[in-house]
Symmetry: C2
DNA sequence: CGCCGTTTTTGAACATGTTCAAGAAAGGAA
DNA sequence: TTCCTTTCTTGAACATGTTCAAAAACGGCG
């Protein structure tokens, strides 16, 4: 059962070639300027063949996001393995994302373009992208687990997703941020992550259990994600 | 200087015909299913002529949004002229929007699709749509002005835009809401508007002035809109 | 009216995402 | 090997947003 490229199913290899071509071209010319014909040609297949493997140009983006996410996780490792302070870890992960995705700001905008369409399979809240989303949320699980904070069980259960949602808010701001090196977004992340950490500490106070319960229930009831 | 249709500049009339055709077709078939050729034909002009007046299909949407907004304002009048309770007024306006735009939920999704693109002229945060945005914000000015609440000056200045932002959040939720008659969004609006009103009261407390100042400053610093 | 610059209109052409019928290749069963 | 089914591949065609050069209509001016 060897996994040699030569042995891998032919289809698999063709598919990989198409993704690779798309990634290079997306990076080089951006999404809009990259045509499916360019992708097909670079991959050495016919136009129709590209569509045999990818139902639309849009789904080719998923490969790009996956790659960005992997890079983000890798870039997050440094902070996550060097500090156990919640604020450092949270802010570090947010900054890592900016660092990694900075050159591809316009792609992030596309992500939100899709996010707005309830029927798009790329919508991060959509069922079809559950896997991708859960992987992203997992990163925030790690952020919390490795931090020296005690959060009550009920909150702990929801916290990763809450932080992910918060981070999506940062991304949304970042998309519109025209400042040099995304300086404004970095500032926003620093400010708000501080507040978020304080809120978590506050919410963990046993005295606030009833209020916390009510708020968490509300959030659960109106959760957007499947 | 009579404004007879017959006397209005020829260009104006053609332009109006195109908009009218677009509105009817958008309503009937939706945005995607309406082609520029259909619009042109219905308007009785050539395809190229439609593009002479409207740079793209997208900008034709603006006319649609304008119409929806006007309908929303009209539908809001009832509550606004019958109650001076802040909560009733705020929730009433939110509900009016749901009532009015319910049949066009998919259009709202398009709005956010554009909102995600920082360069789109339809982006509600964009400079180009400042007029539209300010008109929408104005509605919330009325909501506050007619309510029997005293808010400190510094907060009062920002409040309309804050409420507008909040209402955009409700819209974002609504886009993904598949429940019958948008029931979930209505519930969300009821819950959150209550909280919002309480927060406004709380924030107006003179004792909280320093905190309020800090938060408002933060908001001003990181305002997304122009 | 006849001329000229501007505005409006047209129809054809183009670019590109997507579909599809038909053929080629691959992989087994007999 | 031969035949059949499934998988893969192709190239042409289609739909539609958009552009553009040229023609037509318009509006004043002499």
């Amino acid at each position: 059962m060897q996994q040699d490229a030569a042995k891998t199913g032919k289809g698999e290899r063709t598919k990989a070639r198409i993704v690779d071509a798309a990634l290079v071209l997306f990076r080089e010319h951006g999404y809009d300027a990259t045509t499916m014909r360019m992708v097909a040609e670079r991959a050495g297949v016919s136009l129709g063949n590209a569509y045999y493997y990818f139902k639309s140009k849009e789904v080719l983006l998923q490969a790009f996001y996956k790659e960005m996410h992997d890079a983000h996780v890798a870039a997050s490792q440094e902070v996550l393995s060097s500090s156990n302070k919640l604020h450092d870890r949270l802010l570090g992960v947010l900054q890592a994302r900016i660092d990694v995705t900075e050159p591809y700001r316009r792609f992030a905008a596309l992500l939100f373009r899709q996010a707005a369409d309830p029927d798009s399979p790329l919508n991060p809240f959509h069922e079809a992208s559950r896997a991708t989303r859960e992987e992203a949320i997992q990163l925030f699980e790690v952020v919390i687990e490795g931090a020296n904070v005690k959060v009550p069980k009920d909150l702990a259960k929801e916290l990763p997703e809450l932080l992910w949602t918060y981070s999506m808010g940062i991304v949304l701001f970042w998309i519109h941020d025209r400042s040099e090196d995304s300086a404004r977004t970095r500032k926003l992340a620093a400010h708000t992550s501080d507040i978020v950490v304080k809120l978590i500490r506050l919410a963990s106070n046993p005295l606030l259990r009833p209020l916390r319960k009510r708020v968490l229930e509300l959030l659960r009831d109106f959760r957007v994600t499947g």
